[in-house]
Subunit: 411 residues, 2 copies
């Protein structure tokens, strides 16, 4: 008998029929002899409806009151799911985050979990009940309702799994697992049976938006096996777990990620002196612009070119910052390009294998894709290329690293 | 400086503009130098929407889970009202019933308040904040969310006023006070400046649905002055308070109430022996039919006629019960009439004045209204008349007891 935490997102509980469907799935897991804790999100659309009401009252609303407001979304779902479980004969009880002592700090709208007291849940499980917990929410030390920020229900699931020492945390969503790349770009993309936390972190941050990155960090920290599955289909999904010996036998590269919404800025001919990076990036950060890749080339004349990427939405704002800095720093020129994308290969295998970078560059070169920027980490190599090459680059890399699914067999 | 508890019903907070309107009214009360605690209901329609979801999942839903579900309605309103107060510069904080320790028993969907700990609210008031509390809800000893049943927000308001020893509990609604009778029937009906708890209880139970009867009982028990006002107009409303010396100077009769939805049943010629009333009303009660007026006439031959009224919806069910009883009790006949109404005059003054009944009967007789049943209590006399006489009877009594407003003065 195992203890399973299942988390169902907003689409999976989007209407009463889907809630009934979730109840049947929970019932099957329980009937198979498991203890089950279920974490649910608000019904899809509900959180946005509530935020719309808040905006209509005051666009500059108080964050404490926003959490009071939006936390009702999950509370509705837990009650309805508990009813749906009762209806099919499964004893169940719903709890808000506060009721099961999900203690957070008091950073309203983006709180972090400090502690969970699992005693109440364990008691219900021991008495044969399914426990249904509102995701995304907790209470601070003074009993104020807090929320973990959007998508925080995944984090609730993982945190509960860690606190209860669950055997597995299952994240039900509308995709059936983690893929080697986006199947819309590469039809030969394959679902991965398993992947390491680190690979998932790199893939998630690069845009494969299956899981909230925070929940993967959490799972990794507490070594909670995390499984991503579809709530609409059957199937094994993808298990996300820590690296083990068998990982070494696996392919070099777990997947090819990409990000369409990038822009690149360069400030050229700045004096190459200590502190120059901060002098450039400080003012950018002050405007709340997040910087992704950073590359600095030293020139011949004691000056340097400094290039970085930002989200495309921040391109104009970042450009304005650099224009202002140009005179101040005595730079020669400011340039930018918002028609670029980032393509990355990710895999823990590359740590112990040389030649991944050169294989990547060759594959791109063979297709005539010009590389505009390169950035590497221990388990990831990212390149910036012109937007028009995105699909070509992703497909070339997917094939080059042996990720393509075998073609369907002819009968 | 006074401490005022204000309660706003669902219509008063029915949309974002109305919530802003409530915020302005609260701000004015605060600016006048008062401490203010606000209790709000769910936005109109919201509770029904939530109950609709529950029914769609399971018509026979669990009451604990229903309370978990519907309590979100008020939680949405408190957050929005606190935001609306912040927006106009009034410091405010919202709390669920549980957060301000509104302790109830565990009778889900119809819980009763056991205790309120006002410490948290007092602290906020002392720090200059308006406190916004979710009506209709509390928590039981184990921390489960409970609700007080529909309309329970009035009770929350009065209970908070009692716990905080507030100077007044103001119930804002869509009418501007308690009237001597329904102005739709009698255009000369007048708003009462004040009325006693007992009179209000009799008027409320007779169908003047301004206030939840439980909240009036509560206010009476703890001697909380209760004021009914309109949240849309200005005006003094009606103050509901305990009887004092000045009451004696007031008119004999506070108001004329009526109830359209009555039906009358008679079982004739039952043996007049001890226990016969129970033998008749026992089976009626077993069918969950509530009986209102009861009259028994002893006949000449040791048999008796037994008449009672029920809500019109229960008429057919009650008739079937009597038909069944007829043979069993050896009764002669069963008769009924579902085209009757009840008209009552109510006033604490009648306790110390003879002749109210005869004045009532004369006024009806003068208009040719035939009285079908009579029932009296200490401060109320009710008669049953044919439905067609309703308006005539109410107007005649309203005039006879001097309740008509003076005609508008000619310029």
């Amino acid at each position: 008998m195992a203890l399973i935490v299942q988390k169902y997102g907003g689409t999976s509980v989007g209407d009463v029929d889907r809630i009934a469907n979730v109840a049947r799935r929970v019932a099957r897991t329980k009937a198979a002899g498991n203890d089950v804790v279920v974490v649910v999100s608000a019904m899809s659309g509900e959180t946005n409806r509530l935020i719309g009401l808040a905006r209509a009252i005051d666009p500059d609303h108080d964050p404490r009151e926003l959490d009071m407001l939006v936390s009702t979304g999950e509370q509705v779902t837990i009650a309805l799911l508990a009813m749906a479980l009762h209806k099919i004969g499964v004893p169940a009880r719903s709890y808000t985050g506060g009721q099961v002592h999900i203690r957070t700090d008091n950073a309203f709208t983006k709180a972090r979990i400090v502690d969970i007291d699992g005693a109440k849940i364990r008691k219900d499980l021991a008495e044969g009940r399914v426990v249904v917990v509102a995701g995304f929410q907790g209470v601070d030390a003074e009993g104020n309702i807090t929320t973990l920020g959007r998508g925080g229900s995944d984090t609730t699931g993982v945190a509960l799994a860690a606190a209860l020492k669950a055997d597995e945390c299952q994240i039900y969503t509308d995709v059936d697992g983690v893929y080697t790349t986006d199947p819309r770009v590469v039809p030969q993309a394959r679902r991965l049976d398993s992947i390491t936390y680190e690979e998932m972190l790199e893939l998630a941050s690069l845009g494969a938006k299956v899981l909230q990155i925070r929940s993967v960090e959490f799972a990794s920290k507490y070594n909670v096996p995390l499984r991503v599955l579809s709530s609409f289909d059957e199937g094994q999904g993808t298990l996300i777990k820590s690296e083990d010996a068998s990982t070494m036998e696996q392919p070099l590269i777990a997947g090819v990620a990409f990000n369409r919404d990038e822009a690149k800025l360069t400030i050229m001919g700045v004096p190459d002196r200590p502190g120059i990076a901060f002098q450039i990036l400080g003012p950018v950060a002050d405007k709340n612009i997040e910087v992704d890749m950073i590359v600095q080339n030293v020139g011949q004349d004691g000056s340097t070119d400094f290039t970085f990427t930002v989200h495309r939405n921040d391109y104009k704002k970042a450009l304005a910052v650099l224009q202002e800095l140009k005179a101040k720093l005595g730079a020669r020129e400011v340039a930018g390009d918002d028609k670029i994308v980032k393509v990355s290969v990710v895999g823990v295998g590359m740590r112990s294998h040389a030649g991944v970078a050169s294989k990547m560059f060759k594959a791109l070169s063979d297709e005539g894709v010009n590389i505009r920027m390169i950035s590497t980490s221990e388990i990831k190599i990212s390149v910036v290329v012109d937007e028009k090459y995105l699909e070509l680059a992703v497909r070339a890399l997917h094939t080059a690293f042996g990720l393509d699914a075998p073609p369907p067999q002819q009968q």
